[in-house]
């Protein structure tokens, strides 16, 4: 640490310019720059015209709404879809509580998510369809009540629960550890609810689409993070055994493509596991994704650990903190903060890497897309289907990197 004296902040001279001036200074300042700008504009115009023409006049978008359900939940039975809603409502409850006890950024993110839910609740998509098909029998007011209070009762209920839990949890900071526990329990809870038991089980072979992609990504992210932290600490351990095991693990995994690990998990592993004990296919994919990402996570975290001066550890030891507490309260908070962009980058990679499970026969978003394209009815609509799923991947990954930037700003990375 440096010895930082407080310096008075002096604002730089005001250099903001009018847009016109900016254009003049940056795009049209010399004759060759003017030519380049014009060429770029022509190029952009041609590209955009091509794309827009295709999007609005040539593309056959029917394939998307016709397959929307299967893209979202795969072969999951539509009669059982209430299970998914229970999970979503559980998450909304946890989100409401989190917003209440952490406020700040968590509150803002939760508000955005709840607002998106609200928009879905209020947009009368089904009504629009009804009006198109059968305008005569329409009783608009009644229909909207029907739509919101019956057809979308799960979403409505979830949002109401979100509001209630937020209201009840406000300023009860002592609930924090329970909320964290709740988030951890939400993983087994989700698996149990989606799977069910007894005669009503829905085998994981029927999990698919965006649902499966999100589950794989969420489990992978939640599991690879602590594992990666432990591996990073292990690699820097004083104990040779732990150090070598961690190092060998990290280097081995990083030397092998993910697809190989997925194949090993899904095809080779079952050959060696005896008898009727067969680990579920989805669970095997989760394990493979987690083990793979953890190695990269470990290297990211290690980068952060290396940036922490030894004096920090010594000061912590000098007040008598044990090794675990020194790591937990002093070293990791600073180390992780320093590498948030790398960590979130790893999460984003993991999210996109889930698409590889389609190669070992799982019906994730990409797997479903492939199976739709295999249907003669939708033959040849590659571009439409792939653009649609690309858009979904983009929305989620963009949201992740956006949140990461907000977290950085919120924690004042590089400030304290």
């Amino acid at each position: 640490m440096e010895n930082l004296a407080i310096t008075q902040e002096v604002k730089p001279p005001n250099t903001s310019k009018s847009p016109l001036k900016w254009l003049q200074d940056n795009l049209f300042n010399t004759w060759y720059n003017t030519i380049l700008t014009c060429l770029a504009l022509v190029f952009l115009f041609l590209v955009f015209r091509g794309v827009l023409t295709w999007v609005f006049t040539q593309a056959n978008w029917k394939v998307v709404p016709a397959n929307l359900q299967i893209l979202m939940i795969g072969p999951y039975s539509i009669e059982q879809v209430w299970r998914i809603w229970i999970v979503l409502d559980t998450l909304l409850v946890l989100l409401g509580l989190s917003a209440a006890v952490w406020k700040g950024l968590v509150l803002r993110i939760s508000t955005v998510i709840a607002s998106i839910g609200l928009i879905f609740l209020l947009i009368p998509l089904d009504l629009v369809k009804k009006i198109e098909t059968d305008p005569a029998t329409l009783e608009f007011n009644l229909n909207i009540v029907y739509l919101i209070f019956f057809k979308r009762r799960w979403l409505l209920g979830g949002l109401v629960l979100f509001g209630i839990t937020f209201f009840l949890g406000r300023d009860r900071n002592s609930l924090r550890r329970w909320v964290i526990g709740g988030w951890i329990l939400s993983f087994p809870w989700t698996m149990i609810v989606l799977h069910g038991f007894g005669e009503n089980t829905i085998s994981t072979t029927n999990w698919g689409g965006l649902l499966l992609t999100l589950i794989l990504a969420a489990v992978g992210i939640a599991a690879c993070f602590p594992l990666g932290v432990l591996l990073a600490l292990g690699r820097r351990s004083q104990l040779p055994a732990i150090k070598w095991v961690s190092t060998i693990y990290i280097e081995t995994i990083r030397g092998v493509p993910l697809i190989t690990i997925l194949f090993m998990g899904s095809i080779i592993l079952p050959i060696f596991i005896p008898g009727d004990f067969q680990l579920d296919k989805v669970i095997r994919a989760m394990i493979a994704l987690t083990l793979f990402s953890a190695a990269y996570m470990a290297e990211n975290v290690r980068g952060g650990l290396q940036a922490i001066p030894q004096g920090q550890v010594e000061a912590a030891q000098a007040v008598g903190l044990t090794y675990p507490k020194t790591m937990l309260f002093i070293v990791l908070p600073q180390a992780l903060r320093a590498v948030i962009p790398a960590i979130v980058g790893q999460f984003i990679s993991l999210f996109k890497d889930t698409s590889l499970v389609s190669i070992v026969g799982l019906l994730d978003l990409l797997g479903i897309a492939k199976s739709i394209l295999g249907n003669p009815k939708w033959q040849g609509l590659y571009v439409e289907v792939y653009i649609f799923i690309a858009l979904i991947y983009f929305i989620f990954t963009f949201a992740m990197s956006f949140v990461s930037r907000k977290i950085e700003a919120d924690l004042g990375v590089g400030k304290h």
């Binding site: 640490m1 930082l4 030891q317």
Partner: protein, 253 residues
């Protein structure tokens, strides 16, 4: 200098023939000495002579390889429980402050009492605020270390060490990283601490402080204590050539 009215005859740190190597480099070459409860010892000597290494062996930030160190009746060994017990009794203040930059000043201070001493949060905060008042910086409690001056940071660091209610305080050149105008505010609180009866081992080149506060000045050179005496004798009547040279050099500026 007058005898310290706080010093007792009970030994609190006993060092017997302490040796330390960094690989092949012999840093401490047999230190034998005893510090009594309430004693204030100033350690000086040229750079690289092993002063920091010596006081860091006392709370086991450095491990000694030969000899024995007994602190408050507990012998320092590899037993982790002993190490943690001793670290609770021994506070340390570093040259570079080593405050935790991600925690506010008050959280820097309360972390140890809450996590190690298991003090309730409320009580720990009250005690921390009282310490900050004693350090004269109570209005900086909720700022981050980077937001206050070096002298204030070092006083927070002293408060952090004192919050554990240690029996012994180690200072490793606490004013060397400070701008000159901030040195006295740190020395003032150290002086106050010395008068309160704390056992203190202070590595410093502040000879005025040594003269005024110390019961004993120890002179380190190349890993051995070549001279130790009460400050009056040490400064006015040094025995060794090395000591004489060091004193004349230090007093020159």
């Amino acid at each position: 200098m007058t005898e310290n009215e706080n010093t007792t005859n009970d030994p609190i740190i006993i060092c017997e023939d302490v040796h330390k190597w960094f690989d092949d480099f012999h840093v401490l070459k047999g230190i034998t000495t005893t510090f009594k409860k309430g004693e204030r010892a100033v350690i000086c000597g040229p750079s690289g002579s092993g002063k920091s290494t010596f006081i860091r062996t006392i709370n086991r930030l450095e491990e000694h390889q030969r000899g024995t160190i007994i602190v408050d009746g507990i012998e320092l060994s590899n037993d982790l429980r002993n190490i943690n017990l001793i670290r609770q009794e021994v506070g340390m203040v570093f040259q570079q402050f080593n405050l935790f930059p991600h925690l506010t000043n008050i959280k820097n201070i309360t972390l140890g009492p809450i996590q190690v001493r298991k003090m309730p949060k409320k009580a720990a905060e009250e005690a921390a605020l009282a310490l900050l008042v004693r350090m004269g910086i109570e209005d900086q409690a909720y700022k981050y270390p980077a937001e206050i001056s070096g002298g204030q940071q070092q006083r927070v660091a002293i408060a952090r060490a004192l919050a554990m209610e240690p029996k012994i305080m180690l200072f490793d050149e606490p004013t060397s990283a400070l701008d000159p105008e901030m040195i006295s505010e740190v020395l003032d609180v150290m002086r106050e601490l010395a008068h309160s009866g704390m056992t203190m081992l202070v590595v410093t080149h502040e000879m005025g402080f040594a003269r005024e506060v110390a019961d004993r000045v120890m002179f380190f050179d190349e890993g051995v204590v070549i001279e130790e005496a009460a400050p009056a004798d040490f400064f006015d009547n040094p025995q060794h050539e090395r000591t004489k040279l060091f004193i004349s050099q230090t007093l020159q500026h």
